[in-house]
């Protein structure tokens, strides 16, 4: 199914820039370095989170290892007024939207259910129920349209999610209302243990043909191509051209989550093959070959990366557990009589314990 001919690529795994008849990027040296920095730091956040989970600091972690380019490319293609709707794995997009990674860690630690303000970052809360957010993104895009805003939404979902009714309804709605939305499917080849072939017998970007809007497959391990294709699709949407489906062809290099054991269902040779297409290595080699960055850049980035990791470690370890009474506080705009009663009773109950232990 890996149909190379269809794949938009601007940077080969070997770090060579290649020409594409439709898509291109034209970045300054600093911007190239910026993308590299994003990729490195995002991977570092991810590695640190995985480590913290192993140490028992997080309940679970969903690693983006291997998907950094797909996410950074998409995230950096957005304008501030655009709005992203992530799944639970878009740590790289969160990074691009300036969401403090500690918010992500707090969620996976079990301290809250989504700590940031979506409207502050134009980055929705993580959505765990597969596919739901694609409809939210479509509705939000309709709202942009009604507001006359020249902006667009970017809806993230996985290859597995493409089978959900909601995702296909989102396609129906987006087409019907010609909504300014880009559907961004990271096809990382797996939905937990299920290979892509179980969900679809043809490349996923072709799903769009069934709904009457364009679909594109991009090399999701190529940050430049991911950026270029997403940028073009967002511009198309903002200009009133309607929805696009982007399939970012990539690979989940790690387990589904820290609870998963991929050795049960896939061969390590597959991973080895994909390692050769690593999304970061190719940018590094591109920067080197073209002398876009010197040794000090890499050194500073290493240091920044270490510092970031330390911040995360310290931040997570310092996180207080929520106040038990906060369970009641934001269910409704105001406490209902029942919740007031439950809260008061529980407060007295906790106080009783505190006394007993005093």
């Amino acid at each position: 199914m890996d149909d190379g001919a269809e794949l938009v690529q601007l940077l080969t795994p070997e770090g060579e820039r290649v020409h594409h008849p439709v898509y291109s990027v034209d970045l300054t040296d600093a911007e190239y370095r910026g993308l590299y920095r994003d990729l490195v730091l995002v991977r570092r956040i991810d590695a640190e989170a995985t480590a913290l989970q192993r140490q028992g600091e997080l309940g679970i972690w969903a690693s983006l290892l291997g998907q950094e380019a797909a996410q950074v490319g998409a995230g950096r293609a957005m304008l501030p007024e655009d709005f992203a709707f992530p799944t639970y794995r878009e740590h790289g997009v969160a990074w691009c939207r300036d969401v403090d990674p500690l918010h992500l860690l707090a969620l996976f630690r079990g301290v809250n259910l989504g700590g940031w303000d979506p409207n502050e970052h134009n980055f929705n809360l993580y959505t765990i129920v597969i596919g739901s957010q694609t409809l939210h993104a479509t509705g939000y895009a309709m709202g942009m349209q009604y507001d006359g805003a020249e902006s667009a939404t970017l809806a993230f979902f996985g290859d597995g999610a493409s089978s959900q009714g909601d995702v296909n309804e989102a396609f129906v709605w987006a087409a019907s209302f010609n909504a300014p939305i880009v559907f961004y499917c990271q096809n990382n080849q797996w939905a937990i243990s299920e290979p892509l072939e179980l969900q679809s017998r043809q490349p996923l970007y072709k799903r769009a043909l069934g709904f009457g809007f364009p679909g594109v497959r991009v090399d999701g391990n190529d940050v430049l191509a991911s950026l270029a294709v997403t940028k073009a699709a967002l511009e198309h949407a903002r200009a009133g051209g309607g929805p696009t489906l982007i399939e970012a062809f990539t690979y989940r290099m790690g387990a589904h989550t820290t609870s998963d054991d991929p050795t049960r269902y896939r061969l390590s040779s597959e991973l080895e093959a994909w390692k050769l297409k690593d999304p970061i290595e190719r940018v590094r080699s591109f920067l080197f070959k073209n002398q876009l960055a010197d040794a000090s850049f890499f050194e500073e980035l290493d240091a920044e990366s270490e510092a970031l990791a330390t911040t995360l470690r310290d931040g997570v370890r310092a996180m207080a557990d929520p106040d038990p009474l906060s369970i009641f506080d934001t269910v409704y705009a105001e406490l209902t009589p029942l919740l007031t009663e439950q809260r008061d009773t529980f407060e007295r109950y906790l106080a009783g314990f505190a006394e007993e232990n005093a």
Binding site: G114, L135, H136, Y140, G143, Y146, D166, T330, P337
Partner: protein
């Protein structure tokens, strides 16, 4: 103004809401040109345009899912579900997203979405058009659930629901759409989340909502002829429940019968019986009795009158209660 039907009162209430706040949207299947299969949105698209009154593709999950996105963008969507039995495709979006969004966001996001659902039986319809799914939503934390029973409440409650910061499932008693009443639009309505004692009495209390309010009122009147004084309470708000007037009534009469069309297991009447039995434990002269739809799927319409709680079944329960 001449007496107005419940359907028309809703229509007027929606119109008011659309006029007052240009963030209010109406969306659903056939709500535009057709004005809804019950004409509740009649004329609204003509007057407010296609981007305020939106005919959507045919998929309920899509309706609620996009309404959530619109709410996030600052709109106040009012979604119509065409019939009670067609809300289930949207259940996931309602239960896992709409109900939980505010709490997920620790209060930073509001979800002022109203879901209008014509509910209940008695109109001679085919399968899925006569259900009473309110308990599913009452069991769902994060939602509020209300039911109107008459044109006046319909007019005010729909506006209050739309103005609410919380997601509200708004049940409309479809077989009462053509009931008429005088409406004074300048009156000030009771709070949305308050029950109403429709009729005071001393011998027993009937607690109900939606389409069976009329049944209970008729039963109370019939009982009066036999010298029984029956109190009738219209819940109006199904979640949260306004318990104080119900408990007060239970303490006064010592006998409570809860009436609804929905099946009994894990229903509103279970909940009310449980709460009253606890709160008025020492006052109850009889157990809280329940007159409900049977615990079966809604039957073919030629026997629906047998399924629906009617005056006789209500009176029979009152008799049983009084016999304790």
């Amino acid at each position: 103004m001449p007496p107005i039907t419940l359907a028309k009162a809703l229509n007027e209430g929606l119109r008011k809401a659309l006029e007052k706040d240009d963030k209010v949207l109406i969306m659903g299947e056939d709500v535009g040109k057709l004005g809804g299969v019950f004409r509740v949105t009649d004329g609204l698209q003509k007057d407010f345009g296609e981007s305020r009154v939106i005919d959507t593709p045919l998929a309920e999950s899509g309706i609620i899912g996009t309404a959530i996105g619109l709410a996030l963008r600052g709109f106040r969507p009012v979604c119509e579900i065409q019939f009670d039995g067609f809300v289930y495709p949207a259940f996931d979006q309602i239960v896992s997203q709409l109900a939980k969004y505010r709490n997920r966001a620790a209060g930073k996001i509001a979800m002022p979405v109203t879901i209008r659902i014509p509910f209940g039986g008695g109109i001679g319809a085919v399968e899925h058009h006569s259900e009473s799914p309110e308990a599913y939503f009452c069991h769902t934390a994060g939602l509020k659930v209300v039911a109107c029973s008459n044109p006046v409440d319909a007019y005010f409650m729909i506006q209050q629901a739309i103005a609410s910061a919380d997601p509200i499932v708004f049940f409309e008693p479809k077989r009462r759409y053509w009931d008429k009443a005088d409406l004074d639009v300048t009156a000030s309505p009771a709070p949305l989340e308050s029950a109403r004692v429709l009729r005071t009495g001393t011998d027993a209390t009937l607690v109900t909502y939606g389409p069976t309010v009329r049944v209970c009122m008729e039963a109370a009147i019939a009982a009066e002829d036999e010298g029984r004084s029956i109190e009738v309470i219209d819940l109006r708000s199904l979640s949260p429940l306004d318990l104080p007037p119900i408990v007060a009534s239970a303490e006064k009469t010592g006998r409570v019968v809860v009436v609804h069309e929905a099946p009994s297991e894990c229903s509103l009447s279970s909940e009310i019986a449980a709460r009253i039995s606890e709160a008025a434990f020492f006052s109850l002269q009889a157990p809280v009795l329940r007159v409900t739809g049977f615990d079966t799927p809604y039957p073919p319409s030629r026997v629906e009158e047998d399924y629906l709680p009617d005056l006789d079944r209500v009176l029979e329960a009152v008799d049983r209660s009084l016999a304790y």
